[in-house]
Symmetry: C2
Subunit: 201 residues, 2 copies
């Protein structure tokens, strides 16, 4: 059985929990409290030398890290990953967009404000994150004006990857009020079979 | 014929140039000077609403963005992408590591110091980038102690992705002197068939 090293408030961990649940794959969840540096212990670093969750233990001593690489692995030959080459590459494009242009701004703002409670301490850095985070949301909003899902006509891991931190963007100080297409898309995700919420464990 | 919207000093652009050349796929390179905001014009934003290079034009009005997604697309069914599922996922893992833990620190430092010439202006931010960039280099060094290439036993797009900004890390103020495994790996990459340098166009 898969073991998932995870931290409940983490959107990156949630992506993997959500897909495993939707695929009906049983797994054991192991909570790693990153606030106590539990992802930096010598033992954890043997699993992921980069010191981050989530980590998927596929079999003893066989680990996979990076949430979106785990989504890629689990979704192969399922309906959550497209069949054709170009659509597969588009899924990867949106997952790289997520990790480069979205997560470092929206997830990091949420981490500082709602998880660490240090909005004041990070005030200066949050200004720049706000500009870049809204830029990412605008790219998503524009794309969703003509598409129900990010790639092709169905729900894929591109949607899971982007949903994770978008649906809690307000915890990072981002208002979704003006993003009507994003809001309808969030709703579409929440109506997928076997959907679970971020705290549902 | 493919068109590549590119910026010569960009490591992200270079990844794609290098793979296309090694695959012996002809392409037209179109220089987009990001320093003059040429990637933010209304016309360019129709190709990539996120305003970044590289962009691969596969056919008229069919664009792919995100350097590592382009590597994924071009390498399918070639020796530059592994056959088995787990190794494919490991390639993606290293490419996400590159975009999240490596590029924002090493490439951004190089951009501020060597491309914009604004080391002094970014002095404060560079301190944090230095810590995180060296952390990424340490993860790579450790991995290369037991592996000639990042995944499996052969050269893949994981190596191309990580090579692009590692081999110019010194332009970002990172010394590779102590990284003997990385240095040997850089040399291994430079000895691959049809290798070209970053300014070779």
């Amino acid at each position: 059985m898969y073991k998932l090293y995870d931290f409940l408030p983490s959107g990156n961990g949630y992506k993997v929990r959500l897909l495993l649940t939707q695929l009906q794959i049983p797994f054991t969840r192991i909570e790693v409290n990153i606030l106590n540096n539990e992802s930096r212990t010598p033992e954890f670093l043997t699993k992921n030398p980069n010191g981050k969750i989530p980590v998927l233990e596929i079999s003893p001593n066989q680990y996979l890290t990076e949430s979106n690489a785990i989504l890629f692995y689990l979704s192969q030959n399922t309906s959550y990953f497209p069949n054709n080459n170009f659509e597969q590459a588009q899924v990867m494009q949106w997952l790289f967009f997520e990790q480069y242009s979205h997560e470092p701004n929206i997830a990091t703002s949420r981490y500082w404000i709602s998880i660490l409670g240090k909005e004041r301490e990070y005030k200066q850095q949050l200004k720049q994150k706000k500009i870049l985070g809204y830029a990412a949301l605008n790219v998503m909003e524009k794309h969703l004006q003509t598409q129900d899902f990010f790639v092709g006509k169905t729900y894929t891991i591109a949607d899971i990857g982007l949903y994770a931190y978008t649906h809690v963007a307000e915890e990072g100080g981002f208002s979704l009020t003006e993003f009507s297409y994003i809001k309808r898309w969030l709703n579409r995700i929440e109506n997928q079979p076997r959907y679970i919420g971020i705290s549902n464990f």
